[in-house]
């Protein structure tokens, strides 16, 4: 193998010949590996391949948390042998069975999501290196462990933009290997697809980490700042009297040029700049490290994309990548809104005006000669989008397309309804639109108004309406009053959790006295209503859990107010602390959530992080009470984020729609053989309680999700006080939302000190009467009964190799 490194050299004896080598394949990785040898302790798995984690960790997880397959349909339509009927787990013409095919289907979602984040990371890394150079330091705030996901996966600890390149190249290489396995005639075992999905999930958090740390370092985002500024949120915050430049997507690269142009031309108070999805979150982080007052606004989540367009308010729409609807151009065209595509991943078939003259492009767009344009030059994008918004504003006002439809138009639409019920059948949320239309015909629009908060704006209802009623517009028109009042506050994404916060909370989390970390992430495809995430967050914050959020979940948590008119972000501190609510940032900031759990193992637990995934994940699974909530999980990226959490031993509860991911990881709580670990002190087997019961599953309602998550924060290593606190919360929440005591509460009791203090006597009585445990009533002590022994110095692990006598 070559020992050359990147750079250039010349051969002196050959006149007039110069060989320049810009990049030697593999050299960057090789150099990084050489450098890693100098760094210190290294785990067994730096730069892992498809098989590396399989036997040592993934299969251990999948033995307890078995893949649950729920196919979307009974066919495979993947190749020209088919379509094949796979029902009842039959095999298709290629030999794959229903289990294998659905394993492949889920795996495909995970690698798609991983690719989205990795490609986003590559785009930002290259762009920012071009602007700022490879030597720009990774100043991310008060942390020594800057890149936990990169470090665990590759063994590297990059300190500059340039030093990230080996990790980026590595993720890209492994993604190619992973994608290849989908090809017909390769992997067919469901269990191996699940192992590969877990591996892909770990890579996803590397790609996300790269995406976020480079933008924090180069674009002056808040750096691990618990007091990141508050940002205005909601459609109601947009000033209709100003030109409105609306950005949609997940890549802040181009948006920064709009903000720069607005600042240079003193337009920040003359043009409204607001966005949807993660670009919106990230534009509010730009240049916010010094906490200047933010002027960019967050309109809302992906569910608001069509709603904001139909409102007529945007004068220009700029899209970049990822969670962007496919019908934005035709929808925008109806209301004379030019669309600019600023990223090669979404070009919408629009003419490319990257190299055209700026003034000519503005004229073309202004006149409506073209519905939009591709502009990949960010300098031009910044100028064109802002100038065009200013020019389109009076044009669109004069054309009467900046307001939602009239009352007369609404009545005409409602009267057309034939009550056929097709919209009810087509609606993914199962909204009772026919009932609401029936009442609207009678003049009562409150039922339509009530649909607004649940409606995800997909317009499947309109596609099936035989009367061609624009049902989404009907709902939005009927809801104009509540939309006008749709205003909230969200903290701009703070970035990483810094080391001192981990040191401060690590002991509480490991011992269980801080009951857990609740991570509220994900898309707005809620099965009940957006307010569900608010209720869940509030419940856990009031109980002193640490609540963190990202992306659309973070937005929706900020959209509701208490009786004093305050949002959760105003009521609770922004630190990673008991009872704190942190908005970590956009979707790619999810890497900092796994990073926080990993840092508990590395910083607080003193475990080697470098190239040591299994040990870190084992520590998290057994000691760190964390549970994710992706209440509206919808995208492929959500599947990769969740699966990345799973490989690190962090369970996640998803909304009911997410059953359509076709896979869950659920343990058999009745199979005692699954609930044993080793004690690392001597290698002996020790029984543990059945929690977490799942790594990935769904809940039907937010009321069900709350106690599920509280239970999922219980860990084998809890001490008495911690177990008592966690049982108190779980049992109280179960009683509040499900009713009565949980059936299996007694399985978590090791001795009387584990019991919730307020109910100790009653529970001891139940243990005696219902479970036959022996109680010494004079001392109020349990004499016999528990299957689980308590030993405060026990070191639970799933990895036999970590045991001293192994």
């Amino acid at each position: 193998m070559s020992k050359l490194t990147t750079g250039s050299f010349s051969i002196e004896d050959l006149e007039s010949v110069q060989i320049t080598i810009n990049n030697i394949v593999g050299a960057a990785k090789e150099a990084a590996e050489e450098k890693a040898k100098e760094l210190g302790p290294m785990g067994p798995t730096p730069f892992p391949g498809l098989e590396t984690y399989r036997d040592d960790w993934n299969f251990k997880l999948l033995d307890r948390y078995e893949p649950v397959v729920t196919p979307m349909c009974d066919q495979c339509c993947y190749c020209t042998y088919g379509p094949c009927d796979l029902s009842n787990n039959k095999r298709g013409a290629c030999g794959i069975d229903m289990l294998g095919h659905n394993g492949r289907e889920f795996f495909l979602r995970v690698i798609t999501g991983t690719a989205c984040h990795a490609a986003h990371g590559r785009h930002l890394l290259d762009h920012l290196i071009e602007i700022f150079g490879e030597d720009l330091p990774l100043n991310l705030g008060l942390s020594d462990v800057l890149t936990p996901n990169i470090t665990i996966t590759t063994g590297q600890r990059p300190k500059t933009l340039g030093e990230i390149k080996p990790a980026m190249e590595y993720v890209e290489e492994q993604l190619t290997q992973l994608l290849a396995t989908v090809h017909a005639g390769q992997e067919s075992a469901e269990i191996d697809y699940d192992s590969k999905a877990l591996f892909s999930g770990s890579l996803d958090h590397v790609g996300m980490e790269i995406s976020d740390i480079v933008q924090i370092a180069a674009l002056d985002f808040p750096r691990a700042d618990p007091e990141a500024p508050l940002v205005e949120m909601g459609i109601g915050t947009i000033d209709k009297n100003k030109p409105f430049l609306c950005v949609i997507g997940h890549n802040v690269g181009g948006v920064t040029y709009m903000m720069d142009y607005m600042e240079e031309h003193e337009l920040t108070d003359k043009v409204e700049l607001g966005g949807l999805c993660c670009t919106a979150i990230d534009l509010t982080r730009y240049k916010e490290a010094d906490r200047r007052p933010p002027y960019a606004k967050v309109v809302g989540s992906m569910a608001k994309e069509l709603k904001i367009i139909r409102s007529g308010m945007p004068d220009v729409i700029v899209v970049d990548e990822q969670c962007v609807r496919g019908d934005i151009v035709p929808e925008a065209q109806k209301l004379k809104i030019p669309v600019i595509a600023s990223n090669a991943k979404i070009m919408y078939g629009l003419p490319n005006r990257t190299d055209a003259d700026v003034n000519e492009t503005i004229e073309e767009l202004k006149s409506g000669a073209i519905p939009g344009a591709v502009i990949l030059d960010y300098d031009k994008l910044g100028e064109i989008s802002v100038r065009l918004a200013q020019e389109m504003h009076p044009i669109r006002e004069a054309a009467g397309v900046r307001e939602i439809p009239s009352d007369e138009q609404l009545k005409a639409w409602v009267d057309k309804c034939a009550d056929c019920g097709s919209c009810y059948l087509a609606c993914p949320i199962e909204l009772d639109i026919p009932e609401a239309m029936k009442f609207a015909k009678q003049g009562d629009f409150s039922y339509l108004e009530n649909l607004h908060d649940s409606c995800i704006g997909c317009r499947r209802c309109e596609q099936v309406c035989k009367k061609e009623i624009p049902i989404l517009s009907v709902i939005e028109k009927a809801s104009q009053k509540i939309i006008a009042e749709e205003k909230g506050w969200m903290r701009a994404g703070r970035g990483q959790v810094f080391d001192a916060e981990i040191r401060s909370e690590g002991l509480n989390l490991v011992m269980g006295t801080t009951p857990g970390i609740i991570a509220i992430i994900g898309c707005p495809n809620y099965s009940d209503c957006a307010k569900g995430v608010y209720y869940i967050a509030e419940e856990f914050l009031k109980r002193n859990y640490i609540v963190v959020g990202t992306g659309c979940g973070s937005m929706d948590m900020g959209m509701y107010k208490d009786e004093n008119g305050q949002t959760l972000y105003e009521r609770f501190p922004g630190g990673f602390q008991s009872g704190g609510l942190s908005n970590i940032g956009s979707c790619v900031s999810n890497a900092h959530i796994t990073g926080a759990a990993q840092k508990v193992a590395g910083i607080f637990g003193g475990r080697t992080m470098d190239g040591n995934l299994a040990e870190i994940a084992d520590y998290v699974l057994n000691r760190v009470g964390a549970c994710g909530l992706a209440w509206g999980a919808f995208s492929q990226k959500a599947s990769s984020i969740g699966t990345g959490c799973n490989i690190y031993g962090i369970p996640a509860v998803l909304g009911a729609h997410s059953s359509k991911y076709r896979r869950a990881l659920i343990a058999k709580n009745y199979d005692e053989s699954k609930w044993k670990v080793y004690d690392a002190r001597n290698g002996e087997e020790m029984a543990i309680p059945p929690a977490p019961e799942f790594l990935l599953t769904t809940a039907e309602t937010w009321q069900e999700a709350v106690p599920m998550m509280a239970k999922a924060c219980i860990r084998p290593s809890d001490n008495n006080l911690g177990r008592s606190i966690k049982l108190t919360h779980w049992m109280e929440l179960h009683e509040k939302y499900i009713g009565g005591l949980p059936e299996d509460w007694w399985k978590f009791v090791r001795n009387e000190a584990d019991l919730p203090l307020a109910k100790r006597a009653d529970l001891l009585k139940k243990l005696e009467e219902e479970h036959g445990w022996e109680i010494d009533w004079k001392r109020k002590k349990i004499i016999s009964g528990p299957k689980i022994k308590f030993d405060v110095s026990a070191q639970p692990t799933n990895l036999k190799r970590l045991c001293k006598e192994a």
Partner: protein, 170 residues
């Protein structure tokens, strides 16, 4: 008598109609013949009209209730054997012949399903359909293609009437 076998239009835009449309009297016969039946209810059952009917079905047929979602809270003061379990978890456990069931007496051969989001129950039943022998009978107001048998898509009023017919036939 309500014809619950009409209008079996799928709510999804894919898949096959593998579920057989069924009338209330047939459901009553299936329940009476089942060795280990289980009434599975979702959170939608908390509407008073449905809660009362679910209780009557459980009482007349003398079958236990698996209360999924947060539906269990509705059965606390009712004279029925209702236990909470998560639906996804239940769907998985039903595919395991060794599951001791909610009462420790073994797995179930027939489940009767009432008041779920149709996309959720349909997805969970795709697992039991393909990987178990359990018979799933949906008596909600929507046609569920992955059930073994199902009512068709019916109005709320017809649904209440059909449930009453079922109760009378038990």
């Amino acid at each position: 008598m309500v014809d619950t076998t009409k209008n079996t239009k799928l709510f999804t835009s894919y898949g096959v109609t593998s579920s057989k449309a069924v009338n209330p009297d047939m459901v009553a016969k299936i329940i009476s013949k089942a060795k280990r039946p289980l009434l599975v209810v979702g959170s939608g059952v908390l509407k008073p009209e449905l809660l009362d009917r679910a209780v009557k079905i459980a009482q007349k047929a003398n079958i236990p209730i698996a209360a999924t979602g947060h539906s269990h809270i509705g059965f606390l003061d009712k004279a029925v054997d209702a236990k909470y379990i998560n639906l996804h978890q239940l769907g998985f456990y039903l595919t395991d012949p060794n599951w001791p069931g909610l009462d420790g007496k073994g797995n179930y051969d027939t489940i009767i399903l009432l008041e779920f989001k149709k996309y959720y129950i349909n997805q969970v039943l795709s697992g039991t359909k393909n990987f178990s022998k359990v018979k799933a009978i949906s008596i909600g107001r929507d046609y569920i293609q992955n059930a073994t048998m199902s009512f068709g898509n019916i109005s709320r009023e017809d649904h209440y009437a059909a449930l009453d017919e079922l109760i009378n036939a038990l």
